[in-house]
Structures are given as C-alpha cells and as structure tokens.
C-alpha cells in the first residue's frame, strides 16, 4: 500500500480537460518527478494536490485513508512551494522562515539560522529579502522546507533562478528527505541526477500516469 495515491483526477480548465483520469502512487522514500512540456499541467497538478485548486474529481488517499485535499490535518503533513518564493519583502530571511515554519510547528531561532546556513543563506540572513537577488530569495524559501518537519513536499520548479551549486543543494535536500522516509512530488525540467531507484517520473498531459 503506497503512502500517497491519486486516482481518477480530472481537471477542467478553459474549454478542455487538462488532466483526465490521471492516476499515480508514491511510496515512502520516493521522489515523483513530474515531467511534461510547458503547459502540460504540472503546476495545476501540484496546486490541486495541495488543495489550492478545486478539481472536477479526485480520489486522494494519504496514509491509507481517503482525505480531502482541503483537510487541515492533511495540510499539516505537507509543504507546498510554488513558482514564486512566499516571502515578505520587508522581513529578513530569518523572520520569514521563522514565520513560515512557525505557523506550522514551534521552532527556535537557532534552528532557523541552522536551516539558513544549510541553504547557503547565512550571509544575508538578516537583510530584508527585498534586497536579495532572485536566486538568493529561492534559497531562503528552501530553508523553510526542511525545517517544516512535514512528510510530503510539493515543489514547483524548485531550482528556478538557482546557480549550479544551488541546484545540487536542492538535490541533496530532496535525497536527505527521502532517506528519512519522506515523499516528494516535484515539477522539474532538468535531469537533476537523483539516483534512479528513488525517482519515478510522471508525464502529465497525456492523461496517463507511468510510475
């Protein structure tokens, strides 16, 4: 029995079924890399799975039971990171991460600093994020990921704007999470070189899941 399973997913957008009868399962310790051309529906899939978008139909199972994608209990176990990093321009990196994680679980300032150091953001941890470059902001957003203590990560193009070091950072964050039994569903265009046993890939847009 897989930890996460999606069945019978239908999404209708602008005149047509974007996703029609999509089905897949993700066991523990696996990263499902969602592939597909631009406009195939990767972002849509991730938003549906995190309850931000209402699908026409969806059977979602999580840890064995049927859940609604809008259930707060389900939300408490997942972390969603969209196209743009969710940061307050006027807050420093530390404040942003402390808040983003804080509303989910209690966290100390030193944990926050450690997480920022892990993503290479210690140098600008106390600057207002409005003065950061695109890649630096992305790193700050990533810091919340590991700290959140959630089991299921839903990542939409997490390597956008990152330099090469940043890209391997994302890979190692994901791999570490998988080793601890986490699940990742990520839309990533590049081949990031995750070890194959840990990566399934799903091609959306064709209406066929292939894990």
């Amino acid at each position: 029995m897989c930890e996460l399973s999606v069945k019978n997913l239908h999404v209708f957008r602008g005149e047509r079924y974007l996703l029609k009868g999509l089905e897949f399962e993700v066991p523990r310790g696996v990263c499902l890399q969602v592939a597909g051309a631009n406009g195939a529906g990767k972002t849509t899939l991730l938003r549906v799975m995190s309850g931000l978008l209402e699908p026409e139909a969806l059977e979602l199972r999580w840890r064995g039971g049927r859940v609604s994608p809008r259930d707060p209990e389900y939300h408490a176990t997942l972390f969603y990171l969209g196209h743009d990093p969710p940061l307050k321009d006027d807050f420093s990196a530390v404040e942003n991460v402390a808040f983003n994680v804080g509303i989910r679980r209690s966290v100390s300032r030193s944990d926050v600093r450690a997480a920022l150091e892990r993503v290479g953001a210690q140098r600008f941890a106390d600057l207002p994020v409005r003065t950061l470059s695109a890649g630096q902001r992305r790193r700050v957003a990533l810091a919340a990921l590991r700290l959140s203590g959630t089991n299921l990560w839903l990542l939409d193009e997490p390597v956008t704007n990152l330099d090469l070091a940043g890209q391997s950072l994302v890979v190692s964050l994901i791999e570490e999470h998988l080793v601890h039994g986490g699940l990742v569903v990520a839309a990533i265009h590049q081949d990031l070189g995750l070890s194959l046993s840990r990566r399934f890939s799903l091609n959306v847009g064709t209406g066929e899941g292939l894990p």
Binding site: S50, G51, L52, L53, E54, R70, P72, E73, Y74, H75, A76, T77, L78, F79, Y80, G82, D84, P85, P86, L87, K88, D89, D90, F91, E95, F99, N100, G102, I103, R104, R105, S106, P128, G149, T150
Partner: protein, 229 residues
C-alpha cells in the same frame, strides 16, 4: 526533529504579531490612513465653506465618510500584498483553520487603521468646530464602528483578490454594505455633538460589530480560498 504542531491560538498570535511588525517596518505607512483621513476632512471645508457653525452641522457626516474611505483604502493592501507574494497560499495550506487566520488579519487591520483613526478623530472634530464635550461620544462610536468596517472590508478584500484592478470594485462592494454603520455612527456623533444621550445608536453599532465578528471571518476565509484559485 519532533514536529510539535503549532496550536491555533499561537498561529493567530503569530499572524497578528507579524502584521503589526510589518507595519512598523514602514512607519510612513502607519500614518497614511491618518493623513488621508485628515486630508479628506480638511478638503471638505475647502470645497464648502469656512464657517464653523455650518461646518459643525456637517461634521458627523464628514468625519464618518472620511473614516470609512480611509479604512477602505487601507484594506486594499490587507490581502492583496499577501496574495501577491504567496503568503496567503501558505496560510491556506498551513494546516491551521483559515477562519482563525483571517480573524487575526482583520484584528491587525483594525489595530493599524481603525484604532488610530478613532484616536485622530477628536483633533479633526475640533477643526470642524465641534466642542470638546462631544469627544467621548465620538471616540466611542468610532471605536465600535471601525470594527465593523474592518470586518466588512476583509470580506470585500477577500472577494476581490482574484480580480485585477480590484481597488475600485472593492469600494463598490463594501460601501453599500457599510451604510448601516455609517448611519448609526453619524447619528451617534450627531447626538454627541448636540450633547444628548447616544446609547441607542451605540447599541446598534455594537450589535452590528458582534454580527460582523461572528460571520465576517467565515465569509472572508471562503472568499480567500476562491480568490486564490
């Protein structure tokens, strides 16, 4: 890493604290609604007449229309910014009840707008020729009335989230709904200026605020979910 989940109370507190802290980062913004209130109130005599006796008669209307517009303008930013940078999405998927977080945001809006507007009103009232004796009544009625305005505004702001250029639409949605607050508030102010008892309109204002506190956050949460899709 043991995941000690944040209680709803703590989350509410964090959101409130965050909004207040954000405001202090730009002190200029704290005074913006105030300054707008002042400018509108002072513009009116410019377009009307400088005679205090005449101004005193229109003071309740001018004060309340000014407070209403100032509160509403500040509302625009209440949700729009959080929507723009993805914070609201994080709220929705945070595992916390969205209604509670919306309540916290509304409370923050009142503390940052309604309360300062209330405290500012006596000064403007004096400029319009109102006597000092009327101040307690004016303070009280504005304090209660602005709570309802913040609550109504939160619903409107949530609804217009998904609409680009929603600023004017927000006003169009919210102002008609705010008519009762305006009427009772202006009436209370008028009675206060006339030196009469204002318990009647104050009770009504209070009733509106209670109704708002119970219903508005629910509507705002529903609105935000839809606005973000």
């Amino acid at each position: 890493m043991s995941a000690q989940r944040t209680s709803t109370m703590t989350a509410v507190w964090l959101v409130l604290q965050r909004d207040l802290r954000l405001a202090t980062r730009r002190p200029a913004q704290l005074i913006q609604p105030l300054a707008f209130f002042a400018v509108v109130t002072l513009l009116f005599p410019l377009g009307y007449t400088p005679e205090l006796s005449k101004l005193r008669a229109v003071a309740p209307g001018v004060l309340w229309v000014g407070a209403l517009l100032a509160s509403m303008l500040a509302l625009e930013s209440l949700f729009r910014e959080d929507a723009g940078d993805g914070t609201l999405e994080q709220f929705v998927v945070s595992g916390q009840p969205l209604v509670a977080l919306m309540g916290a945001k509304t409370a923050a809006h009142w503390l940052l707008t309604g309360l300062p507007l209330t405290l500012m009103a006596p000064v403007l009232a004096i400029a319009l020729g109102v006597s000092v004796a009327a101040m307690p009544g004016i303070l009280l009625s504005l304090a209660i009335g602005t709570v309802s305005l913040s609550l109504l505004g939160a619903v409107g702001a949530g609804l217009t989230l998904g609409v680009r250029r929603g600023g004017v639409l927000l006003a169009l949605l919210t102002l008609p709904l705010a008519v009762p607050v305006l009427i009772f508030g202006a009436k209370a102010t008028e009675l206060a200026i006339a030196g009469e008892s204002l318990t009647g309109p104050l009770y009504l204002l209070g009733a509106l605020a209670v109704l708002g506190v119970t219903l508005a956050p629910i509507a705002a949460a529903a609105a935000v979910r839809i606005g973000l899709e």
